[in-house]
Subunit: 353 residues, 2 copies
């Protein structure tokens, strides 16, 4: 694909540079985009740069200044707009950052996608509408296989990295968030800290469980009988907590706030008062749950607003040819999940084992 | 404001038509837009139409065919994107309908606005970006004062009508939704049906309370001691329900699902099992509450998806000069709020008074 097709005199494309330098188009792309995690011999790289300069070629990624009809519109493809407020926070962060930068944010919903190969249709819609760049937000995978057309313009991923490691990506630091919960409970004196884990196969499941396991092991505490799995909803949290209560935990850390709602129910049925007899912690800060529970729920917030804003500012940097830093930075970028303390945690009544 | 400023020869504007016909610009607008709820004498209307035809004037509302640079982009300004899944459903409905019609949906969030005078800034942003039309979604008022610039292009309102009745609008039929709850409870044998009302000053508060009152009166039932007010959240529902339980209702209909969460708590503290001892109904179908409660909550769904889709299809009709029907239709358009039955309603244990 060459830029400037509409002009009478055809501009050099990546194909021309590759032919001139005697390398593949992929190599040209890696060199000119300074793609991280790729290695090209320095003399080859020099040859590519010389060819590009001679032919007046600039990669699309840095070509915005050359385009005469930049739309100043960026496209956001996001899964599950309608099912949780999470996508709403991503949209809000992206929209406010776009407004600050004089960009318009257009959005398309994508069905929840159990397949790691991202569908190209929504991306193509934005390409057809001349979007300057595209943000793709997903929930199901650590890693996705990006469709070829997502490389046609600058792109940024939210919630997953791409399998080739060439698209900037941002994700919540689920593991560190879970570690902070366990450390807070330890500081309050808890030792028998149980984890109501999720059966759902999403990145958050793995990150949160790992965080719990690492923090407990770091404290030298056994977790053998203190992990139970359930569906990632109130029913699953209820069932998992009933199981866990047989092993006398003083605190139950739940995979998410919906499971914590079930933990409250289970505690109530066993005659346990939260937090006097049992501390409970959630994850997600999913409105309106934490403020609607009796007592209000201590939980962990997700950086959805921040991820949306990060994606737009990173995309804008790429559009302005200032993207090298973002591309070369740690990949993917992990944003913190801060603990939000409310009323559901107290010291244990009896010191744990 | 005249169309075609960029052309060498100036096109006639509404001002010219008004001067030629000897009427106000407002009258010209009412006649040519066939604005509902306005009355213009037939000879005056005929004079306006003749003047418009002679001068070659068409109102902006129908002028899309004349524009050479239609963007095929429509702008959605919505309040509270981030706080509830409601805005997400509006966005999804609007986006999917836009895609079906080959339009791109751009969005801007607006702060929750306690003032009925809608801010013109977000609208202006879309006008500056050449949006073909604008959808404005609000939550706080039955009626808003639209900023002048919202009349510069075709526009549609969600959740409120405008004070002049000249902008197509769509709202949920809150009152009919509340009536359907009471009628369902009556059909199950309930007579002492209480209402946990909201103190919040929003259209939904008034519509739902009116629906409850009308349906109870239609059934010849007293409601004197059966209405209590609270904040529109779990704490408010808890406090209101505790009050109501002193008057021995067999069912508590709550203003929203968050208040219903509080009603569950209050029932639990009084040793009442739902639905055996007390039926509870919510409103909103606000995920994840209804499916997360024990038992799951019977509630009323809001047509947010449908309102978003309605707004886009109405806007598209206006853009294509087919908007007369939409403008002439009942104003505002009310969409149904269907009852969604789950597990929280059963016949009363003892027949009510």
């Amino acid at each position: 694909m060459t830029t400037g097709n509409r002009m009478a005199e055809k501009t050099a494309g990546i194909r021309d540079v590759a032919a001139h330098a005697g390398v593949s188009q992929t190599t040209v792309s890696h060199v000119l985009n300074a793609t991280p995690h790729t290695r090209v011999a320095e003399d080859t790289a020099a040859r590519v740069r010389a060819a590009a300069e001679k032919l007046g070629y600039r990669p699309n990624r840095f070509a915005r200044g050359l385009r005469t009809h930049a739309s100043d519109m960026i496209g956001l493809v996001t899964e599950e707009i309608a099912t949780t407020p999470h996508a709403g926070r991503i949209i809000l962060g992206a929209q406010e950052e776009a407004t600050r930068r004089g960009l318009t944010l257009a959005i398309i919903n994508s069905e929840l996608n159990p397949d790691p190969e991202v569908d190209s249709a929504q991306v193509q819609t934005f390409l057809d509408r001349q979007a300057d760049g595209i943000i793709y937000a997903t929930v199901y995978h650590d890693e996705i296989v990006a469709p070829e057309n997502l490389r046609a313009r600058p792109a940024v991923l939210i919630g997953a990295r791409d399998s080739t490691g060439t698209i900037p990506a941002v994700m919540p630091d689920e593991q560190a968030g879970a570690v902070s919960v366990v450390e807070m409970l330890l500081a309050r004196g808890h030792r028998r800290i149980a984890f109501a884990a999720s059966e759902e196969d999403v990145p958050a499941t793995r990150g949160r469980l790992l965080g719990y396991q690492h923090a407990m092991r770091a404290a030298g505490l056994p977790i053998d009988d203190l992990v139970a799995f359930g569906t990632a909803d109130a029913r699953g949290g209820y069932a998992a907590t009933l199981q866990l209560l047989d092993h006398e935990p003083t605190a139950v850390f739940c995979y998410n706030d919906r499971m914590a709602m079930g933990a409250y129910r289970a505690a109530g049925e066993r005659g346990l008062t939260i937090p006097r007899d049992l501390s409970v912690v959630g994850f997600d800060d999913q409105a309106p749950i934490p403020e609607s529970l009796f007592p209000t729920l201590t939980t962990v917030t997700l950086p959805h607003y921040e991820m949306g804003a990060w994606a737009v500012s990173t995309l804008d940097a790429l559009l302005n040819g200032k993207g090298e830093d973002a591309l070369l930075a740690a990949h993917p970028t992990l944003l913190a999940c801060p603990l939000l303390e409310r009323e559901s945690v107290a010291p244990p009544r009896v010191a744990g084992s």
